[in-house]
Amino acid sequence: MTSHADHELDQLLAVWAQTHRLADADAEQIRQTIVPEDLALPATWWSDFNSRVSEVIARATAMPTPAIAAWT
């Protein structure tokens, strides 16, 4: 092949390659299909968690109603 023919073929192949690449939009769609989107914790996760833990502790340490009745 002459260098001119080589160059011309390279140019044609470059144009061909542009139309035969995985488009960014397609790639992102594939990525999103594979990776679950809800990996990030919600902004209120820690405060919700702390509230729930506090409630459990409060319930667990509260004096039962019969005990209160007996006490009074």
């Binding site: 192949l13 397609d26 990996l39």
Partner: protein, 179 residues
């Protein structure tokens, strides 16, 4: 599988590093963009499932891992007949496209005709030549990288590429034009 934002970041790095090459490989094998896209998704789904194993690998080994999956998927796909049917459909479509001429400025028409001809000739190349051509041009890979990915010597890859280019040049009359 327990997932985290770190896993997602590792996966995205692996995906971005290899997606063009893997797509180019599948396109070379099946000659059908839609099927190639589906196969890319399936290949990277397997990467995701084995991320703890694949993520830490060095670049070359990671590429080899991903392409082992890709080769197996193509074999599975051929077994089900989907890839072969797609390749045959694509070749039929290309033969029709080749005859159609788009109206417009002379240079554009000429380029369009040459690209249609190129597409048709690429579709008629032996599969092993079409794959390395696609991985080089659309995947942006070197002969060494393709060799690593396909488990073949880089010299074999260069030979196939040279044969493919020669066939393309001959079919497009580039030898005569350039002389």
């Amino acid at each position: 599988m327990t997932t985290s934002r770190d896993d997602a970041a590792v996966f995205t790095r692996v995906f971005d590093r290899h997606r063009h090459a893997v797509y180019a490989y599948f396109l070379g094998r099946v000659s059908d963009p839609e099927l190639a896209r589906d196969l890319v998704q399936e290949a990277f789904l397997r990467v995701w499932r084995r991320l703890s194993e694949v993520g830490p690998l060095p670049d070359g080994q990671q590429r080899a891992w991903v392409f082992t999956v890709a080769r197996n998927l193509t074999i599975d796909s051929y077994r089900t007949g989907a890839a072969r049917q797609a390749a045959e459909d694509a070749l039929r479509h290309e033969a029709t496209t080749r005859e159609a001429t788009v109206a417009g400025p002379h240079a554009q028409v000429e380029l369009g005709e040459r690209l249609a001809r190129l597409e048709a000739v690429i579709g008629q190349l032996p599969e092993d030549q079409r794959v390395v051509l696609s991985m080089t041009t659309a995947g942006g890979m070197t002969s060494r990288q393709i060799g690593e990915a396909l488990g073949e010597p880089a010299g074999t890859v260069r030979y196939r590429l040279s044969r493919a280019r020669k066939q393309l040049a001959g079919a497009l009359d580039l030898e005569e034009d350039g002389a």
